[in-house]
Symmetry: C2
Subunit: 192 residues, 2 copies
């Protein structure tokens, strides 16, 4: 799917005229290539055509995975993009990655006159807010076991695609703890 | 300040025609009155003309203050508003409160056709996202002492207006810990 198709398929966006209110560019990243480096000011919003991206922060010497992004979704280092300040997060291509992207300057220009650009921007930031709220609440209220079970339910493809240490980083636990959880949970699931 | 003045004073909002793209209503709340109750679906966005509001969650039997809202700012139980699901947070009037408000249905209607409504919605949710990001980061990276010092710097009016137990709830610490921090910090500041 392309950005244009993504917009066309969502009935809450109103297409004005024949074309999008901003230029769309294309590029690709190799597996493990840095999309947005730490300290870099985010100047783009990306849309994944194929592949997976990962956003990380480093805290107390440990890498923490904030989120993964899959095809047909937008991503960027959002706080850096909004404030136009150096990013405290890093985005890397977890697999080879084909993307479309929009430039910050083109988006700001479109925001001044385009209903569609504002509808899209508002929708994407609403989604980002809700994801952040849910993840914050999960960390406050759910144990690691429950967070792992939720992940199995909501994103089973993640567990197939990712090595165990990546899943542990995403859940915010040590790989050894994840192994214990998996051993404890899997027989229970088979019996249940 | 009113919603109309708030919009007129921000150059990134484009006024279309003479009037706002949604009806604006007015009401007042008495001190300690509930604005949005837990379990209630948020149907309004409020703008404070005078007074202070507080948003709380209850977690493990403790009240946690998520944020305070001051004059000339918007607030609502945002996740509930966006998802139109029962709120997990509660908003109360910390003082007598004069507000203007917009209805969810009017906003959704305006989003379909109004550039201004989308610009405003996008701006407000961007701000909400940034506040949430900053607070999450503060909890992850700053000690209670530093969070209290930051609060003294950034929102000194809060320390004058609020009783100590409210400040402690906002910082996520016990009132006794806050007293210790204040005693330890205040002489240092006077000497420094």
């Amino acid at each position: 799917m392309s950005i244009e198709q993504f917009i066309a398929e969502n009935p809450s966006f109103i297409f004005e005229g024949d074309s999008l209110p901003f230029p769309v560019h294309k590029r690709s990243f190799k597996r493990n290539e840095i999309v947005t480096g730490m300290g870099q000011t985010e100047s783009k919003v990306y849309f994944i055509i194929s592949g997976i991206a990962e956003i990380d922060i480093f805290k107390e010497g440990f890498n923490r995975i904030i989120d993964f992004y899959f095809p047909n979704s937008f991503f960027c280092a959002l706080t850096s993009f909004l404030l136009q300040k150096p990013s405290e997060a890093e985005i890397i291509a977890l697999t080879d990655l084909e993307v479309e992207y929009l430039d910050h300057a083109d988006i700001q220009k479109a925001y001044q006159t385009s209903l569609l650009a504002n509808q899209l921007g508002r929708h994407l930031i609403e989604q980002a807010y809700l994801v952040k709220f849910q993840r914050e609440k999960d960390f406050l209220t759910k144990t690691a076991d429950i967070r792992y079970l939720d992940l199995m339910k909501v994103r089973p493809e993640l567990l197939k695609l990712l090595p165990v240490h990546k899943i542990a980083e995403y859940l915010g636990i040590h790989p050894e703890s994840l192994s214990r959880i998996r051993k404890a949970i899997i027989p229970n699931i088979r019996q249940g």
